[in-house]
């Protein structure tokens, strides 16, 4: 048979080679059946019991996913639980039983279909895909009515075989996907779906390749055919030629090797080839991020963006809520790992309904972050108390953003001392030696770094804002991309100056902007003596691997040289030439 190829939407990248398994939809008896007059009440009780059973099952799945840190999946089941209480879905089914004497199965099926069809007709891809959730929930209830056992096709299809299975289906229900076992299922291909369907989201979070939206071709496959799923290109190859197979085997091997190489660096210190140690930590916005960052090899947190606790809600987070979030983030890493909590940075591009901030013409130069906090000490103190209380449970540090003047730093510090006094009087435990530092993101503070260094415990350089303020270029404006580059020598000079000023006073310096996780910047920053690099969690292991190949003693000269260049382009070319390890 000739090799055939199918094209679809690349929903989750990677390569999988395996045997096709077709997942057939359970057949649900169509058509309406009725119960005898007078049996409505009993039928209604049978229905309610099935809904309760389905709800219990979903609750269990929700908790299991949550405990496993699979937040995406947990959220799906949470939404399903909500659907089980929905008057439009469950209420309508009950009504069909009560007033039209429908049998429970038929009532559920018809109500579910009605809602699914309505959602599927909406002019919005995301909402259309929610039809799958509604059908999934109805099917779960119907299964419970038939006291039938859960179909575990997803798990068992490859039993007894060492080859992985590639699932082919019209669409996978969210429940199917959430229970996918990546040790058995190599990838999946669906006829329907788009990049935002649950199955796509989950495939990405579990890390198996997937192609969706292939169309009817997906169902032309036969069980047991050899297939290759190229989730990066969105191509499925059926019964590939030997050469193709060999090419994909080597691509797959390469990806495996790369992952294995990086895995060696998990849980290891971050050390250069000549033995210089730094800290590689993560930027996070939630407790969930903290857990993920820990799994991905971060040594701690260099930036906890606490404003996310304030956003997307009508009220302000209480002291207890914040305390719990900070404590849990610290516990994700353990006692000694540094956790830098940045006090809230609202304003700029982040709005907050509960504060009713006025619209500004120039929000990045406006009323934001520490400027709001010093103006609203009530709000600020709640956060400071929460951080202090959490400091009894881990190595927390506190960092103030958007500091421009010594006066602001001193005022913030004074409020921190007040919060400490309060807790002491209330006999609440906290770390009295908690470190307090500032973010360096305003050129004014960078220029005064020598004065700040005498008073603070540490600096963390926020390069995203430092670049935009130094270059006077809005980082949201795509036309100004050539200016929004941290490798411009004026920015590098400020960074160099800040690091030197801190070290003169024996204080440590970190960096929490995007620059810290950029490979080309790493040799420069290492050469300048940066102590801590905070980046997105996925960049940590690659950075540690790269660092292990760099000889720091040779980089001081490079760090000096770049300060004297014309522009970012010149710096980039120079570093690429001087650091051959960048290519490896």
């Amino acid at each position: 048979m000739m090799a055939t190829e199918m094209k679809g939407i690349a929903a989750s990248e990677g390569y999988a080679i395996g045997r096709a398994v077709i997942l057939r939809e359970e057949t649900i008896p169509q058509g309406v059946t009725y119960v005898e007059a007078g049996e409505e009440q009993a039928e209604l009780s049978r229905f309610d019991a099935a809904v309760a059973a389905a709800s219990g099952e979903l609750q269990e799945l929700f908790e299991k996913m949550k405990a496993d840190g699979r937040e995406n999946e947990a959220e799906i089941f949470e939404a399903h639980l909500m659907l089980l209480e929905d008057e439009e879905l469950i209420g309508a089914a009950q009504e069909r039983i009560r007033s039209q004497r429908y049998k429970a199965e038929a009532a559920m099926n018809e109500s579910g279909e009605e809602v699914a069809v309505m959602l599927a007709a909406l002019d919005d891809e995301y909402l259309r895909e929610r039809a799958a959730d509604v059908r999934d929930v109805s099917r779960r209830v119907i299964r419970k009515l038939g006291n039938g056992s859960e179909s575990e096709a997803v798990q068992t299809s490859a039993a007894g075989s060492t080859e992985k299975s590639i699932l082919f289906a019209v669409d996978l229900t969210p429940s199917d996907t959430a229970q996918l076992d990546p040790s058995v299922i190599g990838g999946f291909v669906t006829a329907a779906g788009g990049r935002t369907s649950h199955s796509a989201i989950i495939a990405r979070s579990v890390g198996i390749p997937a192609i969706v939206g292939v169309g009817d071709a997906a169902l032309q496959i036969e069980d047991g055919q050899l297939v290759i799923v190229d989730g990066t290109a969105g191509i499925v190859l059926v019964e590939p030629e030997a050469e193709e197979l060999a090419r994909y085997q080597s691509l797959q091997q390469h990806a495996v090797n790369q992952r294995a190489e990086l895995d060696q660096f998990r849980g290891k210190p971050s050390v250069s080839a000549d033995g210089h140690q730094v800290e590689l930590v993560a930027n996070i916005g939630s407790v969930q991020d903290a857990r993920q960052a820990q799994e991905r090899g971060a040594e701690g947190v260099g930036l906890f963006r606490t404003e996310f606790l304030y956003m997307g809600r009508p009220d302000l987070p209480t002291e207890d809520e914040q305390f719990t979030a900070y404590k849990e983030a610290a516990e994700a890493f353990g006692q000694d790992a540094p956790i830098v909590i940045r006090t809230m940075d609202i304003g700029g591009d982040k709005e907050l309904p509960s504060l009713q901030l006025e619209k500004e013409d120039n929000p990045f130069l406006g009323y934001r972050a520490i400027r709001i906090c010093l103006d609203r000490p009530d709000l600020f103190k709640t956060q400071l108390r929460a951080v202090l209380r959490a400091s009894a449970f881990g190595n927390l540090k506190i960092m103030f953003p958007m500091i421009a003047t010594l006066g602001e730093w001193r005022a913030a510090k004074a409020l921190l001392e007040q919060a400490k006094e309060e807790l002491k009087n209330e006999n609440i435990a906290f770390n009295e030696q908690i470190e307090a530092g500032i973010m360096i993101e305003i050129p004014a503070a960078a220029q005064m770094a020598d004065r700040f260094a005498r008073e603070v415990d540490f600096f963390s350089i926020g390069t995203n804002d430092l670049v935009q303020y130094t270059m006077a270029a809005d980082r949201m404006n795509p036309k100004l991309g050539y200016l929004s580059d941290p490798l411009h020598p004026p920015v590098l000079r400020l960074i160099h100056q800040v690091i030197r000023a801190a070290h003169q006073e024996n204080k440590w310096v970190g960096m929490c902007g995007e620059m810290a996780g950029t490979p080309i910047a790493l040799p420069i920053l290492l050469g300048m003596g940066l102590d801590e690099f905070s980046m997105s969690a996925s960049a940590v292991l690659p950075a540690r691997a790269f660092l292990s190949r760099l000889d720091r003693s040779k980089l001081a000269a490079l760090a000096e040289a770049v300060l004297d260049m014309d522009d970012a382009e010149a710096v980039r070319t120079y570093v690429e030439l001087q650091v051959p390890e960048l290519k490896a």
Binding site: A79, D86, L119, L122, D123, Y126, M311, G312, P314, P353
Partner: protein, 87 residues
Amino acid sequence: MVEKSYVVANPTGIHARPAKKIVEAAKLCEGTVHIEKGGRKVSAKSLVNVLSIGAKQNDTVTVSADGEKAEAAVDAIGAVLASAEAE
């Protein structure tokens, strides 16, 4: 009866998380809570219904409620609509 209008701030419209929060907020009120867009008026206590109005960013929606805590529910829904929270 309390009735207020809001402009949807979320760039992706009323999707999963905002819709869920709207239903939670509506359940604060014992009485009826409605959400309306372009003549389609539905109960805000149903996730399916809230999704079904298909509200997009910059659409104007009207929220109304009757009964105890009507005002609180309407304001809480308004806060969700006015928030530009990403998903």
